[in-house]
Amino acid sequence: MANQAPAIELKGISKAFGPVQANKDISIRVMPGTIHGIIGENGAGKSTLMSILYGFYKADAGEIFIGGTKANITDSQAAIASGIGMVFQHFKLVENFTVLENIILGAEDGKLLKPSLAKARRTLIELANDYGLNVEPDALVQDIGVGMQQRVEILKALYRQADILILDEPTGVLTPAEADQLFRILGRLRSEGKTIILITHKLREIMETTDTVSVMRRGEMTATVKTSETSPAELAELMVGRKVLLRVDKKPATPGDVVLDVKNLKVKDEKGVERLRGIDLQVRAGEIVGIAGVAGNGQSELLEVLGGYQDGTGELRLNGQPLDLSGRHSDGQSRRARGVAHVPEDRQREGLIMNFHAWENTAFGYHHDAPYQKNAMLMDNAAIKADTAEKMERFDVRPPDPNLAAKNFSGGNQQKIVLAREIERNPDLLLIGQPTRGVDIGAIEFIHQQIVALRDQGKAILLVSVELEEILALSDRIAVMFDGQVMGERMPDQTDEKELGLLMAGITDTANAHSVEEIEENLAHAGGDAGKEV
């Protein structure tokens, strides 16, 4: 093994985007038949490095060796020819194409589509049998869940006979069950001698699946170690440059009055399908209620209807006062006026205007606030900027520049901007969805601390997350949603991931053992489009 040529060797890779040095003199060796992990803070340069390997970006300097021979990867075509496949952080799929069309795109066999499609269909069946990668070949990509979309991306690579597979933050959008399945597949691929590079922020995944791991920091490769010889704490420290608490430090809750009171809440989507089928839920002051559930079981709709931009029916009270569920007084602005703050699940599509400056995003949704007004007509931009600078300081947003556009911040810092905006408003109720999706460990730690601090001030918090770990760590009470209904409530110290997992699969009878098949069948029944809206 020692004298075998590495599957991939990068030597002295450097890359600058204008004034930003994304990669600095990076070298790395990955042996065939291994899973190599890469971790690093948001913006450390991981995606850039991999995109260079895949020929998406061109490196300013450096060399790439594939299987011991120097490869001249000028574009993705060359990378594909060298046996490299990549699943990007943001999928590169054509939404209104079918799965099959996406798979053959760029790898067609001739000028006409029919034979290509037929061949791809046959190959897909083989691949499905070999790896358990089941997809619906004729479904439109926009109609399938993210888990399935990711499978399409992997199939795309395998269809092109990739020996080296790069996955950039593959589990960021997956449910635990989907993630488990992904790692099973990766195991299969490794055992077939394929080489895998895995970028993730989740140390648990690194520890469980990789053979070696590299750590990146501010564009540089700071360490490469054998996974068996390191620990999560050490990796976290290497990554962030300081010691990181890997669990949430919080006092027991002291719940007060009921702040949010929801009765028989129902929501229908545009197609008339009932997505919430009668929710009853209470959140008290000084309490974090976590909503667990497989994505697509109504959590998003719950947040949206509570946040005021989805109509619903039923009863909704805040501090005992009724709130409208439809009509003119049911929108984001009226909710905010009543003391409801909302960190949406998708920060880039909803929480932020990507082309707005940080200061504008701080005012976003709160642009009617009195402190932001100069007079009856005009907003006070200077005041907003000052306020933003202060918030950025307190939330350690990097760089702390109110005049930078939101799109120029990394994901973690974008999330901090949204959080700063919503938390600092001192709301009675905070709705918060997927607070740490795609965010690095250092930032996760900080975000969790803020949420707990808000609770300790006696605020009510409703937390939605697909990360069971996060739910367990933060919540004072956990409600599990399945198919638009609350299946049950549990206290975090009286339950475990297994029990929650069964509830998430719609199985209330958690005392008895259940087979995997039963769970999967139940999940499939719950919604063919589970996870669609993430």
């Binding site: 590169k92 799929l93 194409f97 069309e101 795109l105 760029g106 067609e108 000028k111 589509l113 029919k114």
Partner: protein
């Protein structure tokens, strides 16, 4: 309205629809690949001039057609350089091309022919004549289908048949070939095409070039088939109507045919106030008649068509690094 009138009305619709159809399909290729093109008008106009000019000089309409296509391709190339290579604003580039064509055609025409920005009248082989399809004359007297065949179907210039053939061809190219798959993909998500190892730039230039060719034919049709020479501004806003038809057609080839035929029919009806009067039973006031095609479009659009979703990456230059 009697049967013959109907046939004549439809016949006129086909003639009026043809340049719209060609331009609409041209726009379809370009926009399906993610390049918005409001310069259809200018390309048509330039092609109308150069095809008439070359046809007049050489006496061969086919050379004229080639010149028209060539001129339109030049403007397409300009649009490509601006919006693909230099990632400029596609709308601005289109506006500029319209102005450029409107000015240049007259300047050059005046410089070459000194006939007040017109080309000399084309005669004989310098013009596309109507083609009488086999058996058209023989069939003319058969009831019902006779006039249908000999009047409506037969007798158009070859470019009309080319335009009609372009519809299934476009459909086939778009939905049945590798090129079409990639073309549609590049208008929806260029990054997907790029990471699949296909050149985004190459595809987009190809699409823009096809757009140029089709606009070239449309322009040549105006000046060498419908007319016998170039008159300044003779495209008379047809490029914009074609654009409207494209949205109307939701960027699909068969719909493009129906949409442009509908616009053609509106145009034809405008020339026949007597028919409208016969159908609705009262005289339509002159200016209202002129507004009728546009009013009808608005009504149909509001009443029956619904939302049209443009290609998702349309109008945006493909930028990987900034």
């Amino acid at each position: 309205m009697d049967y013959m009138t109907l046939i004549q009305l439809l016949d006129s619709s086909v003639r009026l629809a043809t340049p719209l159809l060609l331009a609409c399909l041209a726009g379809l290729f370009s926009e399906r690949a993610g390049i918005f093109d409001i310069g259809l008008e200018g390309k048509m106009l330039a092609a109308a001039f150069f095809s008439a000019a070359l046809a007049s000089v050489t006496g061969s309409v086919w050379l004229g057609l080639l010149a028209g296509i060539g001129a339109s391709l030049m403007l397409s190339a300009l649009h490509g350089v601006a919006s693909i290579t230099f990632r400029g604003n596609q709308l601005i580039s289109g506006v500029a091309i319209n102005f450029l064509a409107a000015g240049m055609t007259v300047l050059i025409a005046q410089d070459w022919f000194k006939q007040g920005g017109r080309t000399p009248s084309l005669t004989g082989d310098a013009r596309f004549e109507g083609i009488t399809l086999p058996g058209a004359d023989a069939m003319a007297n058969v009831p019902i289908i006779g006039p249908l065949y000999s009047e409506l179907i037969s007798g158009h210039s070859i470019l009309v048949y080319m335009a009609l053939a372009a519809v299934p061809l476009t459909w086939w190219l778009l939905y049945r070939t590798r090129f079409g798959l990639r073309l549609r993909a590049v208008g929806e998500n260029p990054a997907a095409v790029d990471t699949a190892g296909v050149s985004v730039i190459g595809l987009r230039y190809a699409a823009v070039a096809i757009c140029g060719i089709l606009c070239g034919i449309a322009g040549a049709y105006l000046s060498t088939a419908l007319q016998a020479g170039f008159v300044k501004d003779m495209s008379a806003g047809r490029g914009f109507i074609a654009l409207a038809a494209l949205i109307f057609a939701k960027w699909r080839p068969w719909y493009a045919l129906w949409a442009t035929l509908l616009f053609g029919l509106f145009g034809a009806l405008e020339t026949r106030p007597d028919v409208i009067e016969g159908v609705i039973g009262m005289k339509v006031q002159g200016q209202l008649l002129g507004a009728l095609p546009y009013l009808m479009t608005v009504i149909i659009l509001a009443g029956f068509v619904g939302k049209a979703i443009p290609p998702r990456a349309g109008g945006e230059p493909y930028v990987k690094e900034r």
